[in-house]
Point group: none
Chain length 221, copies 2
């Protein structure tokens, strides 16, 4: 059984992994995410490796093992189901539920969670629109679509780049069109055969449909 501290580390590492679409999470990131000093993160990583939750690659970061990922997914499920309950049933304010769920997710048993899921009608998304992992720990993630198909104003996250041509990848890197990045669609005009997008605070720029087609994105809710 993981302690609730370990559960927190696992969950946060999973979130970063999914979010940035990377395999190893650097220790610095772990430390800031959990609000501990880097030294603490390193020593926890070693203990967690000893207990089989993750693999620790010195000076590179940590990656969850299958066992660790399973628990982490379950934490996400707990968190999101609890947030749903707090909003739907107890009518708590949207702004408070995160912190509340953060506490409760460590205390709720599998059995109570199952009953809660049933009571709520087995919701698939939490109040923020995030998908709730299934009992087996699977996130049925919203299927990705091409950048070309996006509507103006949408906020999307880059999922993957289909073209492996190095020239194109180089261009994509320069424009920060990398997996995990969030992008806003500023314009999309069939007649102009182009989409205009903005990455972070950079200057907006346009991509022809030919290129936009090569970029798969996920809608951010």
């Amino acid at each position: 059984m993981p302690s609730s501290t370990v559960e927190n580390y696992l969950k946060q590492i999973l979130i970063v992994t999914l979010d940035e679409n990377c395999s190893k999470v650097p220790m610095g990131k772990v430390a800031t995410e959990l609000s501990v000093t880097p030294g603490t993160a390193t020593s926890m990583a070693k203990n967690m490796e000893r207990d089989g939750w993750l693999t620790y690659y010195p000076r590179q970061g940590v990656a969850l093992t299958r066992k660790g990922k399973k628990v982490a997914m379950n934490m996400l499920r707990r968190h999101r189901l609890l947030e749903t309950f707090l909003v739907e049933t107890l009518d708590l304010d949207w702004s408070e539920i995160h912190a509340e769920a953060e506490e409760l997710e460590h205390a709720i048993s599998e059995k109570v969670l199952e009953k809660l899921d049933q009571f709520l009608g087995r919701p698939r998304y939490d109040p923020h629109g995030h998908p709730i992992p299934s009992k087996g720990g699977v996130i049925q993630r919203p299927s990705s679509r091409t950048l070309q198909s996006c509507k103006v104003g949408m906020k999307v996250k880059i999922d993957s780049i289909l073209d492996q041509e190095s020239e194109f990848l180089k261009f994509a890197r320069e424009k920060k069109l990398l997996p995990g990045r969030e992008v806003r669609i500023m314009g999309s005009e069939i007649q102009a055969d182009a989409v205009t997008l903005k990455v972070g605070r950079d200057q907006p720029f346009s991509l022809g449909f030919r290129s936009a087609e090569k970029i798969l994105v996920l809608e951010v809710v």
Copy 2:
């Protein structure tokens, strides 16, 4: 803020205090109640005294301070409201709720508790018939105890019957074991697993602990 360990000590000490109607709880009792070694109980007592939760009388026991009692009462409130929720709303089995509430009571915030109370319609008794302390930490009336827990010679008044099984209720009616009736405890023997009681001028009879447990009584002074 007390840690959840401290919360457990406080709650358990309060329960023993109410139960045995005594002011000081001896360390041995504290230790067994919390399933720790006597040494641990002693050292916790010292720390808790330092933090103002209780007064520690060496070789005699501990007594809650006002501050400690307030927190302990609140724990009882949390516990009982949660048990109510688990049975009423989530339909958990009567036998499981105690352990579940034991975990959740440390994680639930005052705000969520308040919403839960509201959602449940501000119940005054938990599923076992125990009174739920008010927000201010007041128990509305002398807490009832099970018939099984009574000492020989006590005179008690029946408060409620927990088992709603019709066969059992029929039996209870025959024996005049009905709310309001006064009963005298003629004998109670753990080895025999039975209590012997007398209702009015009727012939005394015995009840197995299994059944005696289902009957809540109030002590008559």
